[in-house]
Symmetry: C2
Subunit: 247 residues, 2 copies
């Protein structure tokens, strides 16, 4: 019996919504989730506004197995993710003793002031557990099913690597890709019939447009190898048949 594990992502930051920064974390999380057998079902990008962050986190943590957030955990006034997550869980946001002492020691070693701004990075919702940050020390955290991570891609990726061993994973969605030289208008009819005949698969059609011509990537996905191969064979037969008739 296939086990389904789901996830959602909240990307926090005005800079993504203004276009100033182009997100690189959504694609990375999507790739990793697919690779380990977790279905990423929804992503929301929200501004640096507490009510918006709280609403997104509460909506998604109730619906999906896991929630992953990026952004807003640095030391400046616009970094409000820890407060928002605490509010979403109805717990106080306070200095975490372990994070505080790790950061204090790190700055002392580097002969830098442990400023109030830097101390902000030791704040997390009461009861949260650390997500280690091998790049720049200041930890992310997990509370309930919500994993709070940095927005800087190198740090996000490192934190996510630390989270993965803790996640329950489902039956992987296997996939097979068939390159198809025809546009969707040509294959749409027969492809829909194959989908209907193989309800235990998800057949996707991704149009590509190059040099004035459409072609498609056809992707069959299933949690079961036999189901996948049966549908894949039919799709390949369809494409070969169209090639013969020169549609």
């Amino acid at each position: 019996m296939a086990e389904i594990v789901t996830a959602a992502m909240v990307v926090i930051g005005d800079e993504i919504l203004s276009g100033r920064t182009k997100d690189r974390n959504i694609g990375h999380l999507a790739d990793i989730m697919t690779a380990i057998g977790i279905d990423l079902k929804e992503v929301r990008i929200v501004p640096d506004e507490e009510d918006e962050i709280v609403a997104a986190i509460n909506a998604l943590r109730a619906r999906y197995t896991y929630v992953f957030t990026t952004g807003g955990i640095g030391p400046t006034h616009d970094d409000i993710t820890a407060d928002a997550v605490a509010k979403a869980f109805g717990v106080p946001c306070e200095y975490d003793a372990k994070a505080y002492s790790m950061l204090a020691e790190s700055y002392a070693q580097r002969a830098m002031d442990f400023t109030d701004a830097r101390k902000r990075m030791a704040r997390m919702p009461r009861g949260a557990e650390h997500i280690d940050n091998p790049v720049s020390i200041a930890p992310g955290f997990r509370i309930g099913n919500v994993h709070v991570m940095a927005g800087v891609p190198a740090i996000f990726q490192a934190m996510l690597d630390n989270v993965l061993p803790m996640l329950r994973t489902g039956t992987k969605l296997l996939s097979a890709t068939i390159q198809c030289p025809f546009g969707e208008g040509t294959i749409g009819g027969p492809l829909a019939q194959i989908q209907k005949a193989h309800p235990d698969t998800i057949i996707g059609s991704y149009p590509k447009y190059l040099d004035g011509k459409f072609w498609t990537e056809l992707v069959v996905r299933a949690r079961d190898t036999a189901a996948l191969e049966a549908a894949r064979a039919e799709v390949e037969t369809m494409v070969a048949g169209l090639a013969k008739t020169g549609q």
Copy 2:
């Protein structure tokens, strides 16, 4: 008096959530909205599932001036955006006479069958207006404040260009960027004070990490030039002061 116009985006497609396709439309829409004076406030990426699309569109169209969608308007069985938008508005989804005859003529000229799959691209919610598609004919559409466009970036961009002249725009959010050689921990305290002293601006701090060292891009935004310049001057003075003390 500054006028605020807002927007949200719904990106529709399993292929983005699986990581197979890396979205390039969010960043483009964000750039364009910022350039013309519309605040992009939220983005949701949802799967090819009718209920999810309906829920996202109804949540966002009620809250924001405009909603823009990408994806799911092609000819295959997984292209269900037109049906979902019709359902969201409580109107039937039906063949649009103008779109139908445009497509019929285009395929006839190219000596290609106007298949049932291709006919799907002429379906739209009753009462919708076309958004012209100069790339591949099949139109997008607008209904109410919702603009439904293609997911293929070249087509999305062309459709968006056609939509822009129809949009009401607000007072542009001006911005000034100050490169800062210090990490957020150094500037966090003084920057928060500047933000507090300039409530009519939005001051953002965007950490960059390169070769083991943090630096930041500081961005001051405001709808009023005088407000922008006053805050910018203070941020520049702060950075220069820190450089002198060699923090």
